[in-house]
Symmetry: none
Subunit: 402 residues, 2 copies
């Protein structure tokens, strides 16, 4: 379940190219209305045909029964044990809106909430999911406070959600949040759990006091709750770890930010999968490994829209030839987690993948589906092991031991 | 292979109900006389039909090739890594005969043995497996000794076996036993391996000296051997660990005792599986998770009686509908270990299981057998991960990571 500790010692760089296409939320489940899974239902002849000539299997993102967020799901695919390399919620939220972060910054996830003006108790933890335009104006009023030498920035995300950034020196992140995570209680004071984090908790409690005053004349969205105080984690650099230049091609900020966290070069990939593919073509000479991110399958899955998820897979099938025309030595199609439409959410189910290289010739798979991949030539593996296959198929791994 | 370290952080309690039916010794092996395994031979249409609509697989109780006792087998199913959470032999033996233990007690497993009256060397480590009635009378003579302030209790188990209990303060369990585990040697003195255990070793050596005198006029069963000195382990409470009220429904004392060790509420379940099912019905409103124990499959397996094991499985099939009529959100049928009749003992072979919930729809399993479960939608997992599935299917786990 963990990344191979001595992997660095085995790395043998060469000039092979690897493309890893990550289909967000790829895996699905049997849907009673359609009597099939999304992959089974989809008309995806190009992908099926590739699967017939590939090594196929299922990746377990974390542990059986554990549903990963996007962070752990992707880290795992890149060979980072997601239980060891955790990401703070504040940091991921900040990454998701493209904030530029320095290693000393503290980020937290914030919610505008509604408290009872008299008792101070929380009535609604999400301020009625206040609309984004109104929330943005409120958030702007909270921005720009300063405590001692610490700048307190507030950035709107969407609806009631925002990111709090503390910028300054001497800020530890070992503090408690202010969100009791239940209504009917008052927002809490932040407590520092170590001496390095005292200044951080002071900033938070100062912010709490000030915003209560700033928002005092409001009936709803008159307070804020903070949690997930975190710093940029210090992860091993992927390009150094595998001794290959790694590029991320993604349209959504969060995936770009995640890739940046582990040291990938984040390419300007536009806002569509079409422009992502173009970016792959235009930069193919400059890197060894390409993480190509395809979002629509997850979005449709989260919406519980079976037909839309099927459509997103069929669209991908239509552009597969264009992706493969760069002719990578190793091509991987994988997913960060499953997003079954019947659940309308991420799930714990293992995710189909295929690896294609000159060393694969297929092993009986007729269609790229959850059930058939389980019986593929690789079968069930932990997602952190997928990268080992990528390296192996590309001749980038020496023999282990004499 | 380990329980998920941050599992507590992901738990999201709700009012779902989980029933885990543990069929003791469930798994079997191909028998040359019947040309099938016990599960393959058995006529179990209800179980097979349920398997067709379930996620199926095999659980590995400890490690490949490792045959678990009932303790590790069950702990693993409840999500306790059996290599980390060990149970002393003395404690398990004491639990098995329903002794009430306090946290300061030391328990050991004892054997009546036969020594040569002249040389003092062990002739028979089990005193010819002396019959229980005779042994009971001998054991009674050894009970009630006292050393300093420590009460020395002796409780008969079966045949030559007994439990020694030391009750008092300041008793460590880091002592060596007196059983050389080979004939032709003399019973050994106990040695304390730390200062906290000196009093314990003194008690043991006092007991050894006294019983030799008490039994001096006997030819056989004229001495005793002691091993497995242990205390009640301090395990995480299962109800707290998973934030659900857990109940154990079992007829045999050892399984009740095991369940109590990890904090389950042990219900009064009578002496038959019929009364166990009645107990499930009568208490269904009061708990979230039910461990329902079915013993006969293991007993028949241990006796090497293929037809009897088949019969026990067929009996279970007949009462399955009655169990399922409580309509649990998640139903699991699993086993603590395999007990193949051709081996007439526990074995290391992975054990079939099925999970049924509204999220399962089957994946090609036609019959609930060892071979088919291996190709089930889950396939091979470690038994400690089964509980993660139970929680996931019941909506009791939050997403891991942002």
């Amino acid at each position: 379940m963990i990344d191979f500790p001595e992997i660095q010692d085995l790395i043998k760089p060469n000039d092979s190219k690897i493309v890893m296409l990550v289909v967000d939320g790829l895996g699905g489940l049997y849907h009673p209305d359609y009597r099939k899974t999304e992959l089974e239902y989809a008309n995806i002849p190009e992908i099926d045909n590739l699967a017939k000539q590939s090594d196929c299997g299922l990746t377990l993102p974390v542990l059986p029964g554990i549903t990963p967020g996007s962070g752990p799901g992707h880290l795992s695919l890149f060979g980072y044990d997601p239980i060891k390399y955790t990401i703070g919620r504040g940091i991921l939220e900040a990454i998701g809106i493209s904030l530029s972060l320095s290693s000393s910054d503290i980020a937290a996830r914030g919610n505008l909430c509604t408290i009872d003006g008299q008792t101070g108790l929380i009535i609604d933890r999400r301020a009625g999911r206040i609309n984004s335009d109104e929330a943005k104006l409120i958030i702007e009023k909270l921005d720009g406070l300063k405590y001692k030498d610490v700048e307190i920035e507030v950035h709107h995300v969407r609806e009631h959600r925002f990111v709090l950034l503390l910028k300054g020196d001497g800020l530890g992140n070992n503090v408690t949040g202010t969100d009791p995570e239940i209504e009917g209680k008052a927002p809490m004071d932040s407590i520092a759990n170590d001496t390095d984090s005292v200044l951080t908790s002071e900033c938070i409690n100062y912010f709490n006091k000030e915003i209560r005053t700033i928002l005092a004349d409001r009936k709803i969205a008159n307070m804020a709750l903070l949690r997930g105080f975190s710093k940029i984690p210090n992860y091993p650099d992927i390009s150094r770890k595998y001794q290959m230049k790694c590029a991320a091609i993604a349209a959504y900020p969060m995936y770009k930010g995640l890739a940046k966290l582990i040291g990938m070069s984040v390419l300007d990939a536009g806002n569509s999968f079409e422009s992502e593919i173009e970016t792959l073509h235009n930069n193919y000479d400059k890197f060894d490994f390409f993480f190509l991110h395809y979002k629509p399958a997850d979005a449709a899955g989260e919406d519980g829209d079976f037909k839309q998820k099927v459509k997103s897979l069929e669209y991908l099938d239509g552009v597969l030839a264009d992706i493969l025309s760069v002719n990578p030595d190793t091509f991987i199609l994988a997913g960060d987690h499953s997003t079954p439409t019947i659940m309308a959410s991420h799930s714990w189910h293992p995710v189909p993948f295929l690896i294609n290289s000159k060393l694969t010739s297929g092993a009986g798979i007729q269609k790229f589906t959850e059930n058939q991949c389980r019986g593929g030539s690789i079968g069930n593996i932990h997602a952190t092991h997928l990268m080992l296959f990528a390296l192996a198929h590309s001749g980038r791994l020496n023999k282990f031991g004499p």
